[in-house]
Symmetry: C2
DNA sequence: TTGTAGGCGTTATCAG
DNA sequence: CTGATAACGCCTACAA
């Protein structure tokens, strides 16, 4: 019963006789022995842990992403080290290093907040990708090195805008909250649709301050400035809730006077009355795909660096019924 | 420039001359050296990591708790290992072991789902508490061994019920979703208030199925059964949203015909129209307190095993104005 | 102030 | 199939 044998039993080696295996297991049981994870990590140079970075895990969308990521990773017997960076670059760099310094096997950056405008601000991501596999959820790093899985937000918003216009909307506006990677893509989808319909998307897109009351106020000001809109596409459900509240206060009928769409198909879109038409960007699919690709990468397989999938339009009560 | 010197520099020992410290730092920089976390862990027997267990990190309340926990832990240079257990005992046990097997320095069990009815089903928690400090957020383990920080939910619901009655509510009901530790406490607060006002709380408390449409339907059925209520206290904001939707559909005026309160002061309570009166159980306070106590425990200090704090009532539009 | 050497608890390699 | 032994990379006496 040497130390080596114990190790073999622990790792399910088949080169152990049934009798000694039993004996070892028995002693382990009796003595309450637990293998030391650090020593194990030292020898194997892995603790089967992946780092998850996100800007804010309390965000209703990111929270769901984290839920699915952790779940899928655990299924593959990987633990999840969570780290929230906030929205500022220095913290993002710092906490990415923090995770790296703990020798995680891979990094998953959840959310489109990790791609900076300025190319050289992304340098740390390329550096990280040299050390471990880096997965970007809803973000793409120009060039290569990291893997990305993104929802085709541009297409989704384009289709939603097209549909709104087909349903009689003459003057749509687009409300967004930041020009993150997916923010930009949503905006471009909106602009593409408006161009096709002979309108100028840029002029009808607005950066809206955060918060529901702020959104209400913002739309009131827009109205006061004489900017008319009978359709409001929002880049997330919370903004859409603000738009609904604006309509309620302004006495505008939904969807007769004003059609509204959100994005993410979060619980928020269901809490509003009327319930909000939104796009389901399928966080579960995003995460299961990401983790499945990650596992393949860790096994040394070759996987595509870019994966794109499409969102589903969820039609509810803030838009008119087709036909 | 021996290995020991490098170690000393890394650990900020004062027994290193400025010149060699510089030299070491310089070489580390140039060679891109990163200390091996596993080897470090092996020697020190810690990787400064705490395990966070929760039933479901996508739950809007728990997501916030996790956010604050991770943030506070990181401030103290601890990493967070997240693990979602779901609501079944076998998984809870299994994933707790999983975290333990990775030699986390402590465990935080977020949410009141971890205390089982049957005393011996909690045995694994006592076992865990023997190995590392265990912190229960919103849950108390009978006897001792683990630390708990709980919000006085009973008091909060008692006060909300008292207030509703003071505002003219004659027939309040209480809606809850499960009899978890905090579920029970909320229920007891409701019953206490009703008893004081000459009513029977048990008869006016209802276990409501999950989901907003389900809640609406449930209340419609209650009405159909002839159970009258002009006040609805819900054990969480989502249930309260369901109650609001029920009132809207039934054509009952809020708060004139029906007063409604939620719990948690989540974004959901703000998405509803009218905005929902709710109790803020201050997750930030809960988490900063928990982590601060945890740090003290890890430093070997003595801290109280039970901490209780009170919630804040947030008065909004689903209840009548005082006076 | 610096260097040497032993130990932390595994896994992997090699003999037996 | 099993046992001895050398890594793994860091920390920490202890020695210089």
């Amino acid at each position: 019963m040497s130390i080596a044998t114990v190790s073999r039993v622990l790792n399910g080696s088949d080169k152990v006789s049934e009798s000694t295996r039993k004996k070892v297991l028995d002693v382990m049981e009796r003595s309450g022995y637990t293998p030391n994870a650090f020593a194990r990590g030292l020898g194997l140079n892995t603790m089967r842990t992946v780092g998850i970075l996100c800007a804010d895990s309390s965000d209703i969308y990111l929270a769901r992403v984290i839920y699915w990521l952790e779940r899928e990773l655990r299924k593959n017997s990987y633990a999840s080290m969570l780290c929230c960076t906030g929205y500022h670059l220095p913290e993002k760099e710092k906490y990415l290093q923090l995770l790296l310094s703990r020798s995680v096997d891979a990094l998953i950056l959840a959310g489109s907040q990790f791609i900076e405008e300025n190319a050289q601000d992304n340098a740390y991501l390329y550096e990280a990708a040299k050390k471990v596999p880096v997965f970007l959820l809803n973000g793409v790093l120009p060039g290569s090195g990291a893997y990305s899985i993104v929802c085709d937000d541009a297409l989704a918003v384009k289709e939603m805008t097209d549909e709104l216009i087909a349903l009689g909307c003459r003057s749509p506006i687009f409300l967004y909250r930041s020009l993150s990677y997916s923010g930009k893509r949503k905006l471009s989808g909106f602009c593409r649709s408006l161009t096709e319909h002979g309108m100028n998307g840029q002029e009808r897109s607005f950066l809206c301050p955060a918060g529901i009351p702020e959104t209400v106020r913002f739309l009131q000001e827009l109205e006061a400035q004489g900017i008319f809109f009978d359709g409001c596409l929002a880049s997330d459900d919370e903004l859409a809730v603000g738009a609904v509240k604006y309509a309620l206060e302004a006495g505008r009928q939904i969807p007769a006077d004003l059609q509204i769409t959100g994005y993410n198909n979060s619980l928020l879109s269901l809490c509003s009355t009327p319930e909000i038409t939104t796009a389901d960007n399928r966080s579960e699919f995003l995460c299961t795909t990401a983790v499945s690709l990650l596992m393949q990468v860790l096994e040394g397989k070759d996987v595509p660096e870019r994966t794109m999938y499409s969102a589903n339009l969820i039609r509810r009560a803030t838009t008119r019924s087709p036909k």
